[in-house]
Symmetry: C2
DNA sequence: GGAAGTTAATCAATCGTTTGATTAATTTTG
DNA sequence: CAAAATTAATCAAACGATTGATTAACTTCC
């Protein structure tokens, strides 16, 4: 017989991620997820135990791929500035390649419910911050960077990228661009990277 | 008898804003709002027509107070840099004085439901961006600022502040500070302002 | 006394989840 | 190999609980 077979489980995950991003976790019903994925409602609980189980699986999958990328940079024999530029490039690329998830993550971060999820995100972000912190601190200690408020610089780098992703297209820098259009996204991505690299170069190395 | 008298309406608004911020709009039930405010459930519909009516009223009130503050600055006879510094100070002060609302606003901005609300926030933000845009553009034109990607600089300013408000205390710059503690909040506020003023000064006026 | 404010009780709708049954594929057995 | 037994996947229907909203009666106040 013709058996649809392949991965209704995956279909549920993908539909749920899309819906959670668009309308939020509590704003999405299991019936919507079922309809969107083409699966029966019961399959959600069959595979994931609960609606929250779906959410947790999505976040875990994403966060796993999240953590495993930037580490090597800090071992290269390049200047602190070059390291920082590489991190900016990598970080921007990764976030703009997953804007939907990034929105979801930040939304979750601004809520007090589901503390378990909150902690997970916190830890993932914390690691990235630590990496950047070390690069900048090293640069300051060896005299190649100005003395700056390191944690604030980090907030600036991350905040800029997040702002581009979350704030509405019409409001934000690239007025007529659309992050859902791959071509526009590429342009925005390069613009963000260029800006942040220029900004950090000037701010960290300009003679006062 | 005891007449509670004093503004059950206001109590509902305040309770709802608190809850909406903590657990989101769909994550908050009218029964929770009633309990938290000490009002009967029916009072919500009596005064605001619906749950969404409460939400809209909260947002409208806030946005109204939002728009009416920064305008004067651009008329002062001061340098572009001083104007920008004033805007940064005013903007940071306002956002950190209303962190709960700011979280709510940003969450709403990352959702696709309630487009009416989305547009309202978009317009409010757009006006602030336009103000900053003009100040920086003027500075570039009269030669006092370097040529920069203006909209990206704006994203950096706004993104940095938002990042401080939304990202978790333990992750974000001021590691052991708590935005709910008034004393800590004051310290963070001044640190953000100092950082952004320093950053913009260096980036916009440093000789290359 | 009548308008405004407040209440408990109730409403239909929807929520996430569970159920019992059915189908299709796989494994075991004789 | 094929019949029997077992497992996994899927489904429609229903569950109890909760949702936002409404009702109608009661109280308070001018």
């Amino acid at each position: 017989m013709k058996t649809e077979k392949i991965d209704k489980k995956q279909a549920i995950l993908e539909a749920a991620e899309k819906l959670f991003c668009e309308t939020g976790y509590e704003g999405t019903s299991t019936r919507q997820i079922a309809k969107e994925s083409g699966a029966n409602m019961a399959m959600i609980n069959y595979y994931f135990g609960s609606k929250e189980g779906v959410f947790i699986e999505i976040m875990n999958n994403r966060i796993a791929g999240f953590a495993s990328q930037l580490r090597i940079i800090n071992e290269d024999k390049i200047s602190s500035l070059e390291k920082l530029h590489k991190v900016i490039e990598g970080y921007t690329n990764r976030i703009l390649a997953n804007t939907a998830f990034h929105k979801m993550m930040h939304r979750e971060l601004s809520l007090t419910q589901r503390p378990e999820m909150y902690d997970k995100i916190k830890d993932a972000m914390g690691q990235n911050m630590l990496l950047i912190d070390r690069i900048i601190t090293d640069g300051i200690e060896d005299g190649s960077f100005n003395k700056v408020d390191v944690r604030m610089v980090i907030a600036t780098i991350m905040g800029t990228i997040t702002n581009i992703v979350i704030a509405p297209n019409k409001v934000v820098p690239c007025s007529n661009f659309d992050l859902n259009n791959p071509k526009d996204k590429k342009i925005i991505k390069e613009r963000v990277i260029a800006h942040l690299q220029d900004l950090t170069t000037v701010y960290l190395t300009a003679k006062k």
